[in-house]
């Protein structure tokens, strides 16, 4: 019986293998990443097919290099044929949609799948920006399916940045039916105007099977790489944006309430009380595509300055608490003014409702409200 079973199994296996059809051309049509000379930060909104490239003001945007990572064997073309384009170099200079004072350029691109059956139309926005020094959390760039906040400072100096959060990763666990159910949202009753509310949430059954049972609410300057959200979640949070001043202090207001029960990455109860995290780092980034991420943003040797709230100073309070965190030198390094002027330093501001949220340890319900943040620089 055993032998016959093995034989039949093999026969069926062979038969099925023999019936495997020729491979069909790939139907995927998507942009998974954009890189290129002078690109400081890439925000890809996959749902809206809208990509924002922050580029250095020294870039020649008549010939902006964009190296696309596309779905396998897909092709990409600019919607308007421009004789000045020599892919991967594209002319953006003549496509200004400058609004208010902030210079912005936009072109349409179409991705076609290998099968030629599926097309995706993207808008690629190019802009130069400086990090603002004050953050009010009063503006939303997107309200659905989740909130995306942006802040602008003095627009004459091109000060504007969109905040990034792990909301896009949280979307994968399908626990949020409304934007308000995501970990990171804009909330009412700020210190002034609106504020941001970060809350550690359960990721449900999907999160448990991948050992990510919670998602801390987080908000940071940088990019979220959705491709890696599941396989290397800490690598997915890429922190930082070029900064050309020397920061002295990080100030602002917060309210924190710890969730009831701490759990670990396997959703097992842990002793202890949850804490939030508020910090900013300035680090050396010789190249724009160098980022510190969730794995090394507090420990990497490239860090020059760090301002971080001390765990013992964190108060649980119903009232807004002021924080004033000095930037302290790290790794025996000092800011080099030549590199500073050349944009070879990046600044990252990071908030999280659970300090070890990146390791999926925290208490569901821990909530951190933040408002009126300021980077105070040396004059």
């Amino acid at each position: 019986m055993k032998l016959s079973k093995v034989l039949t199994g093999t026969l069926i296996g062979l038969c099925i293998s023999g019936c495997i059809q020729n491979e069909a051309p790939n139907v995927e049509a998507a942009i998974d990443s954009c890189k290129g000379k002078g690109i400081q930060l890439t925000h890809i909104n996959h749902a809206k097919k809208d990509i924002t490239l922050y580029v250095s003001k020294y870039n020649d945007i008549k010939k902006q290099e964009i190296l696309f990572t596309l779905s396998e064997n897909a092709t990409i073309e600019a919607d308007i044929k421009d004789t000045k384009d020599t892919p991967p170099y594209y002319n953006f200079k003549d496509y200004s949609i400058t609004n208010l004072e902030q210079e912005k350029y936009q072109r349409g691109f179409t991705v076609t799948s290998e099968s030629q059956t599926i097309q995706a139309q993207y808008k690629i926005n190019l802009l130069t920006a400086e990090l603002p020094l004050k953050y009010t959390f009063d503006h939303l760039a997107q309200t659905s399916p989740f909130h995306i906040l942006y802040d602008e400072g003095n627009l004459r100096n091109n000060e504007a940045i969109q905040w990034t959060s792990g909301n896009e990763g949280y979307e994968n666990c399908r626990m949020a039916k409304t934007a308000e159910m995501y970990p990171t949202i804009q909330a009412d009753n700020g210190k002034r105007g609106k504020c941001v509310r970060l809350e550690t949430k359960s990721t449900g059954s999907f999160g448990k099977v991948v050992h990510m049972p919670i998602a801390a609410g987080n908000l940071f300057i940088g990019a979220f790489d959705a491709v890696q959200a599941l396989s290397k979640p800490r690598k997915a949070t890429q922190f930082g944006f070029p900064f050309t001043q020397v920061p002295e202090r990080l100030t602002g207001y917060y309210k924190f309430q710890a969730g009831k029960q701490m759990t670990d990455q396997n959703n097992q109860a842990m002793a202890g009380k949850d804490k939030c995290d508020i910090y900013a780092i300035m680090y050396e980034a010789e190249k724009f595509d160098f980022f510190l991420d969730g794995d090394n943003s507090l420990t990497d040797a490239s860090i020059v300055l760090k301002a971080r709230i001390k765990p013992e100073d964190i108060k649980e309070s119903e009232e807004w608490e002021f924080f004033d965190l000095p930037f302290e030198p790290q790794n025996n390094k000092a800011v080099n003014s030549k590199d500073l002027a050349e944009g070879k330093y990046k600044l990252a501001i990071v908030f999280s409702s659970s300090v070890d949220g990146a390791y999926f340890k925290g208490a569901v319900g821990s909530t951190l409200w933040i408002d009126e943040v300021e980077i105070i620089c040396k004059p």
Partner: protein, 261 residues
């Protein structure tokens, strides 16, 4: 599995016990049956096969592993011979049918959806590994035509209908990427330990019908050996189930032995 072996042993022991205890009555009954062209038999066997789309869709790139599991079948049937030479007959049976398979396959652009505990659905195209475990228990009624080639050999063929008593169809995806929610959506890589499980057990169709054909060999006066191919002709999933874009048909080879009264 144990459950079935115990049942099987119990049934066999009981029937043997009955045989000795009621030899006289039984004989009378069997003689009466024989005179009216009726035969009874009890069969046990194993099902080896799988549920597969036919032809295999281009989404399936390779079958990396397959194991049939031990799926036991138990059947009691009655055959009425309709011609004078007892060559042609009709069989009506009642069968407990277990159909299992465990497979690992590599797929490309395979349409799938996974639900979480609050009913949230992630859907999209999966490219990578898919592990499937399916285990279905049916009550099956076959109605078969019989043709005796010789005293020892007979051929049987006919339709059957099955009712699903319980079934699971689940598994997980690994080493690959999901493009969600569609071919132009964002990519989520799954590597190393990151896997996601799925469970389509609740989407299995309760009714199944198909055809079977095979042969039976009489080894001794009461002992028969048989092999039958059962070929399902409707999708194992409900009509409104769209996650798997193609219909899957259960195709199993049944091998076993029987006791002819």
């Amino acid at each position: 599995m144990k459950k079935y072996i115990i049942t099987l042993t119990a049934v066999l022991t009981l029937s043997c016990g009955n045989l000795t205890a009621q030899t006289t009555n039984k004989h009378k009954g069997l003689i009466w049956s024989a005179l009216h062209g009726l035969d009874y038999s009890f069969k046990a066997g194993v099902n080896i096969g799988g549920s597969a789309p036919l032809p295999l869709p281009e989404e399936i790139r390779s079958l990396d592993s397959y194991s049939p599991g031990l799926a036991i079948t138990l059947e009691g049937n009655i055959t009425k011979w309709i011609d004078t030479q007892n060559k042609l007959g009709v069989t009506l049976g009642l069968r407990l049918d277990n159909k299992q398979m465990n497979t690992e396959a590599t797929v490309k652009n395979y349409q799938m959806a996974i639900l979480n505990d609050i009913g949230g659905k992630v859907e999209g195209l999966w490219t990578g590994g898919v592990k499937t475990k399916s285990k279905m228990s049916y009550i099956t009624i076959p109605i078969l035509a019989n043709y005796k080639i010789s005293n020892r050999w007979k051929l049987v063929a006919g339709p059957y209908i099955s009712y699903l008593i319980e079934g699971t169809f689940s598994g997980n995806v690994y080493e690959g990427h999901l493009r969600t929610p569609d071919a132009t959506g964002n990519k989520i890589e799954f590597t190393g330990d990151s896997q996601a499980s799925y469970d389509f057990s609740n989407d299995l169709h309760k009714f199944q019908w198909g055809v079977q054909f095979g042969g039976e060999w009489k080894a001794y006066k009461h002992l028969t050996v048989h092999t039958d191919l059962t070929w399902g002709l409707n999708d194992i999933f409900k009509k409104d189930f769209e996650t798997i874009s193609f219909a899957m048909y259960p195709i199993y080879l049944n091998i076993g032995f029987g006791y002819a009264f």
